[in-house]
Amino acid sequence: MTLKILLLTAFGGAFVTYFLGKVSSKLRNYFAVFVSLTLFVAVACLYGKSAENFSYFKFFGNTLVLRVNSLSWFFAAAVSAFGALSVIFSLDYMKGKENLDFYYMMMLLVNAAMLGIVFAADLVSFFVFWEIMSWSTFLLISYSGKNALPAGIKYIVMSLIGSMAMFFGILSIYVNFHTLIISEIARGIVSASSGYKIFILVLFGVTFGIKSAVMPLHTWLPDAYTESPTPFSAVLSGMLTRMGVYGFLLFFYVVAGASFFFDIDAGISKFNYILCWLGAITIVIPTFIAMLQNDAKKLLAWHGIGQGGYMILGIAFGTSLGLAGGILHTLNYSICIVLLFMSVGAVEYRCGGVRDLNSLGGLIKKMPVAFAGALLGISGLIGLPLTNSFVSKWLIYKTLILKSHPFLAFAALIGTWGTILSVYKFLHNNFLGELPEKYENIRKSPVSMQIPIIILSSAILLFGILPGIPLKVINTIITSFGFNSLNVNLWGIASETGTLNTINIFTAILIAGSVIWMLFRVGKKSFPVTQDDNYAAGAYVPAGKYNYTADFYAPLFKIVKPYLMDFADKFFGWLCRVFTGFSEGVRKIYAGDVGYYVLYILFFAALLFFVQSGGKSW
């Protein structure tokens, strides 16, 4: 019952927000924040509960059911938390824009739909919420107009392709097993033939692959992330894209079942290895493409694709460690990327919508909180020890190495290096280097932006030092999939081949740091100078020309640029052009000449004759 009320609150809150906006914009803002926080609290209260198959609705005589278990709780908590933070972040960011009622309604609606997805226990509700999420996302992506419109179309077309695949798959399952409830399907599917299983998994793989932007299907993502309003970019990257990961988990481990999922032989290789390789490709290529980007959000967007690869890799590889790593990375990555988008948003907000990395710089003094957020965010993305992603990445690498898949591990590790390069560029070009003169008078980011940034930054450190907090939940998830339980404690994970102990690392660095700090204090006190007071080897440096942030990786560009085209995007673009041409051709059928039209009728009749005269007599 609580779930039903929860979802009703979520959806109802969205619509009420819209109408409140007609009354007063202040009221609407407070209400939106209130609703999203309420949802977060409500979801948090569900911790540890597991209620299976609570029916809430009838649709064509099928009972639709909801459930909460550790998997859905994990995702629901993340969804509601990021949702609430983004709404808070929006308060100032969106101030003064048009159609705010609509914006807040859609934000809450996306949120509600995602909650629906994770709580759905039958495939129809899953699909319904999935589609609501798709179209409300589409509207939000298009919200900014201009360049956002093609991005929105790109998104929704790919999303529709995915949903149609899923739709087909769902009904195929329904027709074959006569039930829509996930737990019952899981029981029934065991007896299915292996060809059918591959078919189903491929269908769903396409859907979730598109949503989580696995490599050849990722092309919607860079544009969508870049063009949507930044708080929504955060939601989009943080949770919405990760619904694909949730889908993968759900379908591979709950519906198909783990033992079964690994047995599938897809001709050349095992199904999950193919997926692993897709994940590996997804890690490497987008991360390197990200280096070439000069738009801060686009850079992060390409990262979003790349980091998605880790999750897919971990999940598809599917040992308890890898799976735990994949799931944990989902959370960790989300925290980081939301944080990064928010600091971009703060910069954008203060710099008048500028995101071009070549024209920013030196904002560290002006916006320290945003900088701190960005610093922790990139550390997290890189996976520096003591930040959250370190743990998840470590788990994934370790699995890959120990299970003798060094090539996958290579992709993962080299992806990390690509990440370092690109996110460092992001940090440096935004916050470090010289401050352009026009940004001299920029103020700090507003409080409503600082709050989420601070919360998320502390989360990065918290989960980095005490990874046991999320890992405990994840442990229950993977045991519910039928994997071995992990030996998790609060500060790490112990296993037979190499133990991770973050507290050791933490103390080591802390001690080393304090030693060095003392050494530092011993030395003669330095005196502060302004940023521009630099050693230039006696050469004259004209003002404003210090900034070497433009074309940060120029030497590298020369080498890698020719190889780093987005072939998938090119291919889809080509496909679109072909289709457009084809459509132009097909239209010519309706030539405007009524004589032809009569001929069509005659032709049809004659054709029917020939077809039918071969038919039976009756």
């Binding site: 179209w135 107009g145 179309i153 077309v157 529709l160 009904l171 027709v175 009569v598």
Partner: protein, 497 residues
């Protein structure tokens, strides 16, 4: 007391005859007639669901006189027609306000009557007669205000030529059937056909499909549709897309299922034709710049889906097809009406003296702010047509896919191809939605304040959402309707004597 269903035809006819005498008040007659029909058909539904009503005209036993066969299918269609007719006529009260207004309303009511007659009658020639009423009023309404409407005239001429060829085919087929079996009553014909072992029966069937196919707008026969639907005034486009072409489909299905017992070869041809219609319609719509023409092509696509569903020839398939008819009718009517109101507002602002019924998609840019309710209606209709939940289009798509998969094998593959069309549909409709809401346009001074126009939007949108969330309200009548189509023996058995 049971009301005679014949009133469903007689009363609107009477009103249609009265209409020309009413002068300016003529515009209130179509809503009155449609409302009467709506109430009557809803009242009749429970009775009909128990057992179909056979109403003979003139008081003779049925094979010898014309009879109405008021089964679940017929009453379902009658209710749908009158519902659509009622809403559109309310809309038209203030939308159609120039020139030949009285004639417009008379013809409109005649169109509704013709459609109702087609779905209720149990006599093949009578069906043809009502079909002709429908067609002639359609031709004329396409060319409404022909003197000011260059494209309307052209479209009407073309429509008329193709429609006449189709009608001739139907009449030929009826003649042949009469020649073979000497009767015109459909139940009687079905009985004979079921017994016959003739290798040439496919010829009248072919002519029937080719003839009704023109009105049903299946693939190569639908060249009139984009023209006629795009140039006629919005209420007419709406009734065409929402009702008229569905009547064509009904006629085909009645002939194929009831008269000819759905032979496999025909059904597979229909399936392929439906698929082709779907794909061609959506592909053509993809590159349209004219919003109404785009919607018209989308209608072709939806009709294709309907025919595809019927072509499955299973109970679930037919139920799905009927559901799709409902969903398409509601959504497309809402779509055309909202588009019409937008066009109307733009026209009133920019060139009040010209008679404009179609417009470029770009002209709608930015209307979302000035006409919020209309734009919302458009968005809901578009979403429903694409098949997004929680709108009704989703339920119908669900049923169709389910039906195809239940049949399995090659049908599932074809269904997979058909789903591609949804993607295309999504692409072009959502582009328009984006334009309306998120693009900037010259929309100064445009307002929406006409209650008569907005009320139908509201009702239709509410129905779309309600039926999308609770599709169960329709399943009972649709199930027995599909039962009626499939149960040929039952249909024959209803014939007294």
């Amino acid at each position: 007391m049971v009301v005679s269903p014949v009133l469903l035809i007689a009363v609107p006819l009477l009103l249609a005859f009265i209409a020309p005498l009413c002068g300016k008040a003529a515009k209130y007659i179509p809503p009155a007639g449609a409302l009467f029909n709506l109430i009557l058909s809803v009242i009749l539904i429970p009775t009909v669901l128990k057992s179909p009503m056979i109403v003979s005209i003139g008081g003779f036993p049925p094979p010898f006189c014309i009879n109405l066969f008021v089964g679940p299918l017929g009453i379902f269609f009658a209710a749908l027609i009158s519902l659509a007719g009622f809403l559109i006529s309310i809309y038209a009260l203030s939308y159609i306000r120039e020139r030949a207004v009285g004639k417009y309303h008379t013809l409109y009511l005649l169109l509704l009557t013709g459609a109702t007659g087609v779905v209720l009658t149990g006599d093949i020639f009578n069906l043809f007669v009502f079909y002709e009423i429908l067609c002639i009023s359609s031709y004329a309404l396409t060319a409404h205000n022909a003197h000011w409407h260059r494209h309307g005239t052209e479209a009407a001429v073309k429509y008329l030529i193709q429609g006449s060829v189709g009608s001739a085919f139907i009449l030929l087929a009826i003649g042949m059937l009469y020649g073979f079996f000497g009767t015109l009553n459909m139940a009687d014909l079905a009985k004979h056909i079921a017994r016959a072992h003739s290798s040439v029966l496919f010829i009248p069937l072919t002519f029937f499909i080719a003839g009704f196919g023109v009105e049903a707008a299946i693939f190569p026969l639908n060249a009139w549709l984009p023209d006629a639907h795009s140039v006629s005034p919005a209420p007419i486009s709406a009734i065409f897309s929402g009702i008229a072409i569905e009547i064509g489909v009904y006629a085909i299905m009645r002939v194929v299922f009831t008269l000819f017992g759905a032979p496999l070869s025909v059904m597979s041809v229909l399936l392929i034709v439906g698929l082709l219609t779907l794909l061609v319609g959506e592909i053509c719509a993809f590159r349209q710049n004219n919003i109404k023409r785009m919607s018209a092509y989308s209608s072709i696509g939806q009709i294709g889906l309907i025919v595809f569903a019927f072509g499955l020839a299973t109970k679930s398939g037919i139920t799905a097809g009927l559901f799709q008819i409902t969903s398409h009718a509601l959504s497309k009517i809402l779509l055309f009406l909202t588009i019409g109101y937008m066009i109307y507002s733009i026209r009133m602002k920019n060139y009040p003296d010209k008679y404009v019924t179609e417009i470029e998609i770009n002209s709608l840019n930015g209307l979302g702010k000035k006409m919020p309710l209309t734009s919302l209606g458009f968005a809901i209709a578009a979403f429903s047509l694409i098949g997004f939940p929680p709108f009704i289009g989703f339920s119908s798509k669900l049923l169709i896919v389910k039906a195809a998969l239940l049949k399995g094998g090659i049908y599932a593959v074809l269904m997979g191809i058909a789903l591609i069309a949804t993607v295309i549909e999504g692409a072009y409709f959502l582009k328009v939605v984006q334009g309306i809401y998120f693009r900037k346009g010259e929309v100064e001074g445009i307002k929406e304040n006409n209650v008569f126009i907005l009320v139908p939007f509201f009702i239709l949108a509410a129905l779309i959402i309600f039926a999308g969330i609770y599709p169960g309200i329709l399943t009972k009548i649709l199930n027995s309707s599909s039962g009626e189509l499939l149960n040929r023996i039952g249909y024959i058995g209803r014939l007294p004597g």
